[in-house]
Amino acid sequence: MKRVIAMIGLFIMSLPTMLLMAQDQGTYIDNLGAQDSSYLEEVQLAGAEQASGSNTTVIIIVVAVVVIAAAVFFFMKKKKK
């Protein structure tokens, strides 16, 4: 009986050592591959860029049309003078 108790006690006392030994297995990183060119999923660690959407299209087209039209109009006026 004493032997059994001693064995159990020894097992309990050795547990921390066993756990420490288990921890000797440090981290193993399964995937280290670096991305390169291909059609990739959108992944970003740093801040994401903001897309300004199709509103920009409309604004820029409208501005371009107005600016160019106005420029040509005034240019023509000037020539006529």
Partner: protein, 647 residues
């Protein structure tokens, strides 16, 4: 003699130039290389065709979460898939390359006609055809690029018909209206960005009405004219918009919202691709604003840049003269060159692969350049200046011609002499991003392998070269990670390799048995595996057999000391064994080969984390993010470090 001059009229010379171009295109199409985008778009085109064949039952073409292909109209790709299916053509890529030749021919035709339209000279048209044939970035992609080149053809046709429309306004012929509607429809069917042609048309009409106010009064007060114009506008809008959507399943799901959704996706393409620019690796979504301008300057042949300078000089001079119809047309065409370039810069579009996505502005530049030269010829400038200046333009055509003759089918990789040429560009700019160099290399390797059973690895998705060879298996792998894959032979395009390795020659492997050069620069390398110690070692590592793995990995390093992936794997092994001093040594050695290699940073950060040094681990991760903000394998550790540091 008189008979000869009768035959060689400008119009006939234009026709002859087109005929010669057609003959060249048809003879070269079977020898063209398959590019990596073909392997992306063509399978999608087959799914699109199947969507129509099954009446929408096979909806796989609408489910493209990774590659965004549903947003592409890609009508020409779809056409080739349809032809191959209907006629059961075995050599599918040959069909594609002949189709590409046809659309490049259309590009030549409409660019020539546009050249004639802005100069009233068929000599300009013929010279435009010749100049486009001698523009390697365009001609070199004529066969395999079925999106950018056909889009450029549609863009040219669209501008040509818009100018015809504006010249005839308000009494526009139905022929012009039909041509314009079809040109816009076709352009939009390739890429929805073709909608820009509507804006150009609107702009042209606004300018005409503003500059000739009496026209507006005439249109409004003349019922027949008003009704005719309204009817024609309706035809252009409906034909241009809706016909372009007919062969695009995703747009047909919602003809109003989806095309504009697609336009938004294309303008701000979310997929980021590593680019080599000015000697640095930069993600395409973070490229500097001058990326496109720089590419245009370094990749456009000198004679075109020279002609463009002549054009700008004459345009500036003409501003001191009264505004003529000719000047208005020139300004309009100049606008169609400038606007897209300025627009993508202003909205910060995600560009990549050099100027490939903006190829459609190149023919416009060519037309203006040729027009500039012919204005020089017609000018009153002294012959002492004129003759050498014009001769220089034509003499400079020899440079791209020599390049094309020497390097076809990898001729699209062209950098002008002003930028230092291809020699300077290698390791500083994207080189063979379409992997055209693989054609020669695969032809060579197939003859080397013969009847043997072999697995071939490549760093690009071009298994088509081996599809009909049952004895050859294909494997994809990144160049630096090649040891993780089981292969007997490997062909690697010297592209997407960090410039540090290229400049310091640490990318070279002792396994290389043949290098394929392009103007003296390594383009593709052929590797033959002497032993599979590296592959077996990594496999043992995955099964946590540390000691056996270490022996094999070290053995590989003895024979291939530049194999940085071995250092990564050995360091990973030491990390698992908690042997940090040895790990540090391995990281140091790995960094002598590739100081910017992401896995080396991650291993160091993980080591520091395991040691409880969270601040230091975070600092290394920040360095890693500076090197590559998209290295997704670092994300889990970054999250854990932030949790520990309460960030």
């Amino acid at each position: 003699m008189n008979k000869l001059t009768d035959i060689l009229t400008a119009r006939n010379v234009f026709c002859i130039s087109l005929f010669v171009a057609a003959a060249i295109l048809l003879s070269l199409a079977p020898k063209a290389a398959v590019n990596v985008d073909e392997m992306l778009h063509y399978p999608h085109a087959k799914r699109v065709v199947n969507w129509y064949y099954t009446g929408g039952e096979d909806a796989s073409c609408l489910d493209t979460p990774v590659d965004n292909l549903k947003y592409y109209g890609q009508s020409v790709d779809n056409l080739t898939a349809l032809i191959n299916r209907v006629f059961s053509i075995e050599n599918e890529f040959l069909t594609r390359h002949f189709t590409g030749a046809v659309f490049f021919f259309l590009l030549l035709l409409f660019a020539g006609l546009l050249g004639k339209e802005i100069s009233n000279s068929y000599w300009v048209a013929a010279t435009v055809v010749l100049s486009l044939m001698l523009t390697p970035r365009l001609f070199g992609q004529a066969f395999g690029n079925l999106k950018d080149v056909p889009f450029a053809a549609g863009y040219m046709a669209g501008i040509y018909f818009i100018i015809k429309y504006l010249k005839q306004f308000p009494k526009v012929s139905w022929k012009t209206v039909t041509g314009l509607g079809l040109a816009i429809a076709f352009t939009c069917s390739v890429r929805i960005g073709g909608l820009i042609l509507f804006a150009y048309l609107g702009l042209g009409i606004v300018v005409i009405v503003l500059s000739k106010p009496f026209l507006l009064k005439y249109i409004v007060s003349t019922k027949s004219c008003f009704v005719r114009l309204m009817g024609q506008w309706l035809v252009i809008v409906f034909a241009g918009y809706f016909l372009g959507l007919l062969f695009w399943p995703y747009s047909l799901q919602d003809v109003v919202r989806h095309p504009f959704e697609s336009l938004s996706v294309m303008e701000h393409y979310k997929i980021s691709i590593k680019q080599l620019f000015e000697g640095e690796v930069i993600w395409s979504s973070s490229l500097p604003w001058h990326y496109l301008i720089k590419w245009i300057l370094i990749a456009t042949p000198e004679f075109i840049l020279l002609g463009a300078l002549y054009f700008i000089a004459f345009l500036t001079y003409k501003f001191s003269k009264p505004l003529s119809e000719q000047l208005s047309i020139e300004l309009f065409v100049f606008f169609t060159l400038l606007f897209p370039v300025v627009y993508v810069i202003v909205i910060g579009s995600n560009l990549y692969s050099g100027m490939r996505q903006m190829l459609f502005v190149v023919p416009v530049m060519v037309i203006l350049a040729v027009s500039g030269v012919f204005q020089f010829i017609k000018s009153d400038i002294s012959k002492k200046v004129k003759i050498p200046a014009i001769a220089l333009f034509f003499v400079l055509m020899i440079l791209p011609f020599q390049h094309q003759a020497k390097t076809f089918p990898a001729d699209y990789i062209y950098f002008n002499a002003i930028s230092g040429g291809n020699k300077t560009a290698w390791s500083n700019y994207e080189y063979d991003y379409y992997f055209h160099g693989m054609k020669e290399a695969t032809d060579y390797l197939i003859s080397e392998i013969g009847e043997k059973e072999a697995t071939v690895a490549m760093n690009c998705q071009l298994p088509n070269y081996f599809e009909k060879l049952p004895n050859i298996d294909f494997q994809y792998t990144r160049y630096l990670e090649r040891s993780s894959v089981d292969w007997d032979y490997a062909l690697f395009g010297v592209n997407y390799i960090h410039p540090y390795l290229l400049k310091n020659d640490t990318w070279q492997s002792t396994r290389i048995v043949k290098t394929f050069y392009h103007k003296g620069n390594p383009l593709v390398v052929l590797l033959e595996r002497q032993s599979k110690d590296d592959f077996k070692g990594i496999d043992l590592l995955k099964h946590r057999k540390w000691d056996e793995a270490e022996v094999l990995l070290n053995k590989e390093l003895e024979t291939d000391p530049n194999n940085v992936w071995m250092f990564v794997n050995l360091a990973n092994l030491k990390l698992a064994q908690r042997k940090y001093a040895e790990l540090d040594q391995l990281l140091e050695k790995g960094r002598t080969i590739h100081p910017y290699y992401e896995p080396l940073y991650l291993l160091e950060a993980q080591k520091l984390f395991d040691q409880g040094k969270f601040d230091e681990s975070y600092a290394v991760l920040e360095e890693l993010i500076a090197v590559n903000p998209r290295y997704k394998n670092a994300a889990p550790l970054l999250k854990r470090v932030k949790e520990k540091l309460n960030k």
